[in-house]
Symmetry: C2
């Protein structure tokens, strides 16, 4: 079958199943989540076997180390995934909540929270996203079409088969979770143009995926996960604190989107700060790519090229640039950033306030690591992704981001 027709049939089946889930009770949806957690635990051995096959194939194809880290499952990670499912049961169900008011003419207006309908997820080879996305969509009454990275296809098949079994056991149509099993690249475009079949597509991934989405999307999208994040060390910064935060922001988990990719350093502290940072960075084997002034202070730094400022490495690489003013730092960030997370290290309240007001991003930090941009860390309990756009949702997206509203109006013959 043509890939386009394959995708459309998959989406259409999810769409047919969606209304039954949209009207399911909170209790039934929570029962499904609990069953999914039990099922994944019971199926752990076969899931890990599938994952081992994916890992072996990926390693054989020369997939980079950071991607292997995202792809890998083990018993601990599966336990974590199942714990997250159980925590999701405890979160309030937004569906059906709302506000009701009566107009002077007697019309009763009820604005209620309703599911989007069918959500398309396009993401990289991260099996935990397969379960997270399916679970968050289920809790919000949405059917979901999952298109994960091809390197994780065996793992995803095992995970989705297990979840579908659990859905059937509690009486929910298993078609509400659909996995795109044919992973040719054209399937992504087919999803992005499935108007009338997908209500929203959420791409999670790097700059390449986001570009594809912007060029091809004919359905509404929420762009997520492109994180060219910056940390700016101001002249008034506590330099010991700055070293600690910068190392954390870069090296605690370089493969994720809230890791820092470029560090900007005020010229007045560059000669003192950069060597201290470089010493701490040695333990992590961080490759430094510097502007000429950085390279003059740090002979071990590689000269940065223009493209480095725009690159999300997702790796143990950091671009470093010396700037002379706060304005220059803000201008650099607003030129190259992806609207994700930005941080300033400073003791100046005035500099902090200007940085937070003028930097255009979802999350702007003062004296803290960008690594905190995360639904769990913000206290939302669950996250479908981190939106880098301004429309609908910005920053970590919880359950609400997967819903829309509907006005239900009751009258007794009112005319205008």
């Amino acid at each position: 079958m043509d890939i386009n027709n394959y995708i459309r049939e998959l989406c259409a089946a999810a769409r047919r199943a969606a209304p039954s889930l949209a009207s399911a009770s909170t209790a039934k949806k929570n029962a499904a989540l609990a069953a999914m957690a039990e099922g994944l635990t019971a199926d752990c051995a076969s899931i890990l076997e599938a994952n081992a096959a994916d890992l072996a194939a990926a390693a054989g194809n020369g997939v980079p180390k950071t991607m292997l880290d995202r792809l890998r499952l083990d018993e601990g990670r599966i336990r974590g995934i199942c714990d997250a499912l159980r925590e999701l049961c405890a979160l309030a169900d937004p569906i059906g909540s709302g506000e009701r008011w009566v107009r002077p003419n007697g019309l009763c207006i009820n604005c209620v929270c309703v599911p989007m309908g069918v959500v398309g997820m396009i993401y990289e080879a991260r099996p935990n996203v397969t379960v997270d996305a399916a679970a968050l969509c289920l809790k919000t009454g949405n059917a979901v079409v999952l298109r994960g990275g091809k390197e994780a296809i065996a793992t995803n098949r095992a995970l989705v088969a297990s979840m579908k079994k659990s859905l059937a056991a509690v009486g929910i149509d298993p078609d509400v979770i659909a996995l795109v099993e044919r992973t040719e690249r054209e399937g992504v475009s087919a999803m992005l143009t499935a108007r009338g079949l997908l209500d929203v597509v959420i791409p999670r991934g790097g700059a390449g995926l986001i570009r594809t989405v912007v060029e091809n999307a004919r359905v509404p999208v929420i762009e997520t996960g492109a994180g060219n994040c910056h940390l700016y060390v101001d002249e008034s910064a506590d330099l010991d604190m700055a070293v600690k935060v910068a190392i954390n922001a870069k090296a605690s988990r370089p493969s994720v989107c809230n890791a820092v990719e470029t560090m900007l350093v005020h010229g007045a502290v560059a000669e003192q700060f950069l060597p201290a940072f470089a010493r701490a960075a040695e333990a992590y084997h961080i490759e430094l790519r510097g502007c000429p002034r950085t390279c003059a202070v740090l002979p071990e730094a590689v000269p940065a090229e223009e493209s480095d400022w725009a690159t999300e490495y997702n790796d143990y690489i950091l671009a470093v640039r010396v700037v002379d003013t706060l304005d220059e730092a803000i201008a650099h960030i607003n030129r190259y950033n992806t609207g994700h997370s930005e941080a300033i290290m400073t003791a100046s309240r005035a500099a902090a306030a200007r940085f937070q007001a003028e930097v255009d991003a979802a999350a702007v930090y003062v004296n803290a690591s960008t690594r905190f941009t995360d639904g769990g860390e913000f206290g939302f309990g669950a996250e479908i992704g981190i939106s880098t756009q301004k429309l609908h949702a910005r920053g970590p997206m919880g359950l609400r981001a997967l819903t829309t509203q509907k006005y239900l109006i009751e009258g007794d013959g009112q005319v205008r």
Copy 2:
């Protein structure tokens, strides 16, 4: 100059001016709105002169009557526009409002409401939208690029010149309101691809504009205003009430998006209801386009073609179809509607509940006219348009729809 460059320069100028407006106080923004109301009142004569020139040219070009109605200004309508500006002063300013919480690790998270940045408006020849959109964007701290229908260009020039004068008088950079004065069609595509210059584009218009937007948009958009609305007369309906509401929904102002375009009638009441409706419709010279069963009851009806079910006439024309069940009515609506406003006339609570749950639209009415889908009628006080999409905003959009959020996080060296 190339139209693409012309648009990009216009957007870039608005973008440069935007930060000063984003940080303006509520008092200053309200002073600007009051000055705009005064200015438009003072400039009334020259605005009406420009409008008369537009109307004469449009009539000469054979522009349809309903479009002339939208284009026409008079002293009363200008007074109404100015009253709306003054009412906008009284509305709460959403910018800067938000929520603040502290995480167990001491991080203080502040989620604040901020302007989008620069908003692009693409709309038809409706001069009132020029002022409404400029004012709503101003109140929410956004710069705006206005691209109205070419038939209204002289009127829009006069309106924007007057508003810019008022902005300058209160010390706001007049570049925050930009008018696209070159109205060739290619300017629309140029706006839809102005990535990095426009933060959101809001098209207001019919199916043709929405199609152009879907095909061409590379910037985030909020689709509005396509209203293929339906009224379904159930077998249990109060038929006198149904006649009154149906006439109002079709004929009180056929040129607007919340007017009904297709009426569905249950077979059990068609023979009684349709003649009564047709008699009432005579006074408005409504052309009826019916399915075969409708035509059998109403010999004056023209046979409807398949395309009629998908057409937003915006005129004194109504498509009519007889259906045998509620399911058939819901299926017809979910196939042809544009996600705007749908109504059922019924005395059955069960039918009303199913219709409201299963029809997929922004506003779903029981026993009331679809004409109430409007920011003012809902009690929101102001409206930038009626969203027919599920993302970001759905239904009448008030001030909030023109804003986004930003997380401002403060720490003292927290790492993860």
